[in-house]
């Protein structure tokens, strides 16, 4: 099977997928391509059997039940094999939380924009209240000025992250369900109003990537997006410090 895996990753189907810039992505791509090659082979095989069966000379009907149960057993083993591999990857990505040292960023969806909040120098997010939301006044998330933790919070309309450091996203929505999707990070999680959902990942390759909305949320659904900029750690520190000074001179 290892040989098949090697072959799978060499074949040009890999170029269909967007660039993979995350630490966990290559294993997923590998497993996805393995799946695609297997189902392609099965589809071709089944069509061949159908086609040959149709053109070959007529014979008395088959009575042997093995021809039903042997392929079925083989398919069952194949599905178990794929499931186990997939579950291991899923468990690695989702069963446990982020490392304690992970960068904390809040992601908030609203019709039709994404906002990103960094907790600032106190490493604590300030309390937000929907009554205080006022994008025009520079407070799109409704950070409560009465809470001192909120005073140093940085809110951005692009997600800027340092390369090679794990990030712990807490995903939320102000209004309706949105889908936080970063194809180049092989990451997707719906933003559900009333729920805070954590996902974590590590961006590897600096660059600018797309953040999409993948859950229909209204007439602007198609244009609800943002950029993810992955920077070398030193540039990220400079960027965050500049934003920090802007909110807390």
């Amino acid at each position: 099977m290892d040989l098949a895996l090697q072959a799978a990753s060499l074949l040009p189907a890999a170029s269909l997928l967007p660039f993979d810039a995350s630490a966990h992505g290559p294993a997923i791509d590998h497993h996805l391509l393995l799946n695609l090659w297997i189902i392609l082979a099965l589809a071709v095989l089944a069509h061949l059997i159908l086609f040959i069966g149709l053109i070959a000379r007529r014979r008395p009907e088959a009575k042997n039940w093995l021809i039903e149960y042997l392929p079925l057993a083989a398919l069952a083993l194949l599905f178990i094999f794929l499931s186990v591999r997939a579950e291991r990857l899923w468990a690695a990505a989702r069963y446990t939380g982020a490392e304690p040292t992970a960068l904390q960023v809040q992601v908030v969806g609203e019709q039709f924009a994404w906002y990103f909040r960094y907790p600032g120098t106190d490493y604590t997010f300030g309390i937000t209240r929907p009554q205080l939301v006022d994008a025009g006044a520079g407070n799109p998330l409704g950070i409560d000025p009465a809470d001192p933790h909120g005073a140093d919070d940085v809110v951005a309309s692009e997600l800027v992250l340092p390369a090679n450091r794990q990030v712990d996203l807490r995903i939320d929505s102000l209004d309706v369900i949105h889908g936080f999707s970063v194809p180049e990070m092989r990451l997707k999680q719906d933003a559900i109003p009333g729920m805070t959902i954590h996902v974590h990942f590590t961006p590897k390759v600096p660059g600018t990537y797309a953040i999409l909305c993948t859950q229909v949320c209204g007439l602007g659904h198609y244009r609800m997006n943002a950029n993810l900029r992955v920077l070398p750690p030193s540039e990220f520190a400079t960027w965050l410090a500049a934003r920090q000074r802007a909110v807390q001179p």
Binding site: L16, L17, P18, H31, N35, L36, I39, L42, A43, A46, L50, G53, L54, A56, R58, R59, P60, A62, I67, E68, P71, L75, F79, L82, S83, A86, E87, W90, A91, Y95, R129, P130, D175, V176, I177, S181, P183, R186, L187, K188, Q189, D190, P193, G194, M195, Y209, A210, I211, L212, T214, V216, C217, L219, H221, Y222, R223, N225, A226, N227, L228
Partner: protein
């Protein structure tokens, strides 16, 4: 036996007026009414899909007599397309349409168990369709939240155009439809359980009947849950409750905590909706699975391979079908352990589905079947079921679904297996049972043209969607060009392939004109059908059950002696024993 075409135009003596003919309790006419409703619906749904495809790749084109298509128009089209196809085509036509038309005859019953309820069920469905279509003409237009109507988007009128009165009409339409489908499903269940003729044991029931039976069981379970969910959502919208809206939900600058002190959960709707929604897709495909098995055996002149296993797999698909709704929610905030559990139940359904495919392959293996149009569409059904089905286990793996969820890969998957395969089943049923409906045959040469055009068109349209999905194209996007940021580049990269898909969809739709020509031409000028033209063994072809059979034939009790599809080659030709044939042949071992 088979009606002479000239007899068809004569008014039937027992039904004097047009009104009595339309508001009839005759299950056959109700079945045809359902099919006419489904044909109207599928035409509307297909035109909408063409408009969407054209808008997606040429967003600046202006629709004649309408104007530019706005993003909300696009989403309204998505919503009506999905709703109309799922409910009014794929649920009504296979289950209620052909179910009414054929099911009683196939079990040797003279009528459905509850004829009046049957008529009520059809007219409620018609009312539901009118309500749905009328939402296009109200201020704000139709609902734009897709056929899944996730709250709070669907719970708050201010969340978008169409989410006010349009959404209320959508809810009303689907609620009426759910009631109609539940009544229809109970009718089918009781008919099968109580009205089988002598000798029609469970083991001798054709697989089509098993398909209708299992789909009806699922309908009763699924539609009752859907109805409850719709009522809760309606209360959230108008009665100040908060089942699905969390406290402090801020939509369009207004806080919607309603009058309620509690904290609702949008995920509750997802659970209730998909508890209905996933069985729903099996409701639409199960009759097609049964029909495919029967037609392949009929035209291969063989028994269905592993008949009992096929009965078991039908029931198993139905049973597992209600246990795997969570695979629609892998990235919706479900507990990750729950995702693993739903992944296992989803993978498990691949086993009975694979058993079906193996049985079909074994049935036609070295059979040299006769390639009637009905047989071609059944073979096409196998092909589409394989191609569309194989991406199912891929999507069943949560870690892969995380990347593929709500991309066009999923659109490709369910359009091939649910939409196209089910539609191929409907085409096969139409070509096969047309003689029973009209006493005439459909044109085989037009049928072959229709088949090849549809097969090529379906693959050309839906196969490339896998690729645009892998490239990252999400669903429900009103346009792919003119989008800002890095997302714009990602989406624009899919445009060349999307143009090809649009052209393919245009071809696929155009080919359907051949079907309409065939249908209307054969209705008036088709060759007169001989009795039992396909040399079928199931009871609907029994001469006494034929609608135009002499009255005295109807008095004879129908008795069933054997399983369907008994054919044996003999030196003098083929021995062919319908289920009602009492012949005992020493060559054939008793069951």
């Amino acid at each position: 036996m088979t009606p002479r075409p000239d007899k068809l135009s004569e008014p039937v003596a027992t039904m004097p007026s047009l009104r009595r003919r339309i508001f009839t309790t005759d299950h056959r006419i109700i079945g045809i009414e359902y099919l006419i409703l489904a044909l109207t619906s599928v035409t509307i749904g297909a035109i909408l899909s063409l408009l969407m495809r054209i808008h997606l790749v040429w967003p600046d084109r202006v629709l004649p007599f309408y104007g530019p298509i706005l993003p909300e128009d696009y989403l309204a089209m998505v919503t009506i397309h999905g709703t109309i196809m799922l409910f009014f085509v794929l649920t009504t036509a296979p289950q209620a349409g052909f179910g009414n038309l054929i099911l009683p005859a196939q079990i040797g019953a003279r009528r459905m168990a509850f004829p009046v309820a049957n008529a009520v069920s059809f007219w409620l469905t018609a009312v539901a369709l009118v309500i749905l279509l009328s939402s296009t003409f109200v201020p704000g237009g139709s609902a734009i939240s897709g056929w899944t109507a996730y709250p709070p988007f669907s719970a708050v009128a201010g969340a978008g155009p169409g989410q006010g009165l349009g959404m209320d009409l959508w809810l009303a339409s689907i609620a009426v439809f759910a009631i109609a489908s539940t009544i229809g499903a109970i009718n089918i269940l009781v008919t099968i359980i109580k009205f089988r003729c002598e000798g029609m044991t469970w083991g001798r029931m054709p697989l089509t009947v098993w398909g209708w039976f299992t789909a009806a069981l699922l309908s009763v379970i699924a539609f009752s849950v859907l109805l409850a969910a719709l009522l809760l959502l309606f209360c959230d919208r108008h009665a100040g409750t908060g089942f699905f809206v969390p406290a402090g939900d801020l939509v369009s600058g207004v806080i919607h905590s309603g009058g309620h002190p509690g904290n609702g959960s949008p995920l509750l709707w997802l659970h209730l909706f998909w508890f209905f929604g996933h069985p729903e897709v099996y409701i639409s495909i199960l009759p097609g699975l049964g029909l495919t098995s029967m037609l392949l055996a009929n035209f291969s002149r063989r028994r269905v391979f592993a008949y009992r296993t096929m009965i078991v797999t039908t029931l198993l698909i139905g049973f597992l079908g209600i246990l795997l709704w969570g695979h629609h929610m892998f990235v919706a905030g479900l507990n990750p352990f729950a995702a693993s559990a739903f992944a296992v139940s989803t993978m498990a359904i691949a086993i009975p589905a694979s058993a079906k495919v193996l049985s079909w392959l074994a049935t036609v293996w070295r059979s040299r079947p006769s390639y009637t149009t009905a047989m071609l569409f059944s073979i096409g059904f196998i092909s589409l079921f394989i191609t569309g089905g194989l991406s199912g286990p891929v999507l069943a793996q949560p870690i892969l679904d995380e990347y593929l969820h709500n991309t066009f890969f999923v659109v490709a998957h369910f359009h091939l297996i649910m939409a196209m395969a089910a539609v191929f089943g409907l085409f096969a049923a139409t070509y096969y049972w047309f003689p029973l409906m009209t006493g005439r045959m459909m044109s085989e040469s037009l049928g072959r043209l229709h088949f090849w055009g549809t097969l090529v068109g379906a693959y050309a349209t839906f196969l490339p969607m896998h690729i645009t999905g892998l490239m990252g194209e999400p669903r429900h996007y009103a346009q792919l060009s003119g989008v800002a940021n890095a997302a714009g580049q990602l989406l624009a990269g899919t445009l060349p392939l999307n143009r090809f898909i649009t052209w393919s969809a245009i071809v696929l739709s155009t080919v359907q004109l051949v079907f309409f020509v065939n249908l209307f031409h054969s209705l008036r000028k088709g060759r007169s059908a001989p009795p039992n033209p396909w040399r079928a063994t199931t009871l609907e072809w029994h001469p006494a059950l034929h609608p135009n059979a002499p009255a005295e034939a109807l008095e004879e009790a129908t008795v069933v002696y054997r399983q369907p599809c008994e054919y044996r080659p003999t030196p003098g030709g083929e021995l062919f024993l319908p289920q009602w044939s009492a012949d005992t042949n020493p060559d054939i071992k008793p069951e």
